[in-house]
Subunit: 217 residues, 3 copies
């Protein structure tokens, strides 16, 4: 599954990007070194573990393919010592999260498709893979996952997975699908953030509740 070198690079790049985004959240929450490494590495490899459990790959690749964990732990470790000030940290969180989202959605979809799943199943698996790491990160630090509240987050993952599967289906090239699909997802995600693109919110009488409220009251 990891034969292609460029494909492997894209996979590790996604893990690194998510690990960095998770570690940045840990730094902002003032976790200690271990906490930062745990949340960073779980964020980095979490999505892939969910993908493997959905596809029945036991044990998950990240438990047997040491580069995955090494990159995740190394990225989190580095962030602990090298990170921007609190005022700019959120910006970097969004950027690295977007790269992780894009690379994982495309990679996850391609992995599932090449393992014989139908295009629809592959796209779903890729989207879950991409969303999974961020959900683990946000649930661990006790936040409403960004996928529920951020600009076109799930749509970007769906787009990346769809393009990746489409390309892989046409010429069977895993790395090209991952590259183009991932890039498309990253561009859409970052553009939606820059432009503040949001989908409509429900309208009803009464104040409703802020999604950033902790409790259903």
């Amino acid at each position: 599954m990891m034969s292609d070198a460029l494909y492997e690079v894209l996979q590790l790049a996604g893990i690194l990007a998510f690990a960095i985004s998770g570690a940045l959240v840990g730094v902002r929450r003032r976790l200690d070194l271990l906490g930062v490494i745990v949340v960073g590495s779980f964020t980095g490899v979490g999505g892939g573990i969910i993908r493997d459990m959905l596809l029945g790959v036991h044990p998950p690749v990240s438990f047997t393919h040491w580069p995955n964990l090494a990159v995740a732990v190394g990225g989190a470790f580095a962030v602990f010592f090298i990170h921007p000030g609190i005022t700019r940290i959120r910006y970097f969180e969004v950027v690295f999260d977007a790269f992780g989202l894009g690379l994982f959605s495309a990679n996850g979809a391609v992995v599932a498709f090449l393992s014989g799943e139908s295009p629809l199943t592959a796209i779903l698996v890729g989207t879950i893979t991409a969303i999974g790491g961020g959900v683990i990160r946000d649930v661990l630090v006790n936040t409403v996952p960004g996928v529920l509240t951020r600009e076109l987050y799930a749509v970007s993952a769906l787009l990346g997975a769809g393009i990746a599967v489409g390309i892989a289906a046409l010429d069977g090239s895993a790395w090209l699908g991952s590259l183009v699909g991932g890039a498309a997802a990253i561009v859409l995600r970052l553009t939606s953030v820059a432009r503040g693109w949001h989908l409509p919110k429900p309208r009803f009488s009464g104040p409703g509740e802020d999604p950033s409220a902790d409790r259903e009251g």
Copy 2:
């Protein structure tokens, strides 16, 4: 596994009920259209995905059997546009959640039993399946899962799973077990809410903490 038409209907009804309950929570939390669809569809298919991962069905049925996801997404989509006012939304949440709980507990238990698990294992799987969707929904929106705090929630799921397995064991009829077991769970759950049936709470000196408090302080 999906041979019986009525059984399939019950399965989809449970998915729809949970998807609606999840989407209603999303609406109340003022998530945008995508957020409502994500939390709604995860809630709808989440329990079944947990069941399939426990039983080793790869990939989970909801990833390959398109009606499941279509019903979940469609239900959430409809709720976004058609929903009661904020003042009455909680009432509908409880009712649809109860239907999802009942149908999933019975269906999950029957699926596990017919796949060759022991009655005890089947009942446990059914209960986890039923509780799973709601836990995913509540954890996603950052709330203490209702199973820990709501009236006879887990007991209703256990009852539904037990009755369903009992019936399936006697005459091997999956749909009858799902129907009767599911109905029993729904009735017990809704009755416990209407009557405010609660089990005793621990007694000790000191104020203790409110389960609705976010943090352990």
Copy 3:
């Protein structure tokens, strides 16, 4: 997998310890009897279920090996009626959590190693198994998991898993590895709490955020 009697005892001891720690949290949060049993039993068997899903054991052992669930439910049930006052409950939470952490890290690693995984994979699986139960407990009650914030929590699990695999690799004795590895993890964890050993926290200008803050604001 459960052939050795002493090994089985260690396994059940870990489940009991985690179930007690989960039930104590439930009592402190004033959950009712059912809530206490649910959070307690999920905490007790949760880590093992995660381990089995990672290793592809379907259904998880705790769903088919009734003593596991019996011990978890029984422990939670007992805690509901017999527990210290609110002022001392936290102390007992930490102690029982440490025993669960130690026993699970060693047991999980040994189970994975004896099932043919590489030492590295086995150590990772053991660590995840040990951390899993506590994460489930903390996420259920809507708290930032202790593994992110507590003294040498993950390190203790890694140490226990490493020692257990080392011993099992040398003389193939599962129970000895579980015993020594588990003891080492418990000692390190409790010592780090008693001494307040912490790893350094990130330094940056600005106030940062308290990890115990609920929301990323």
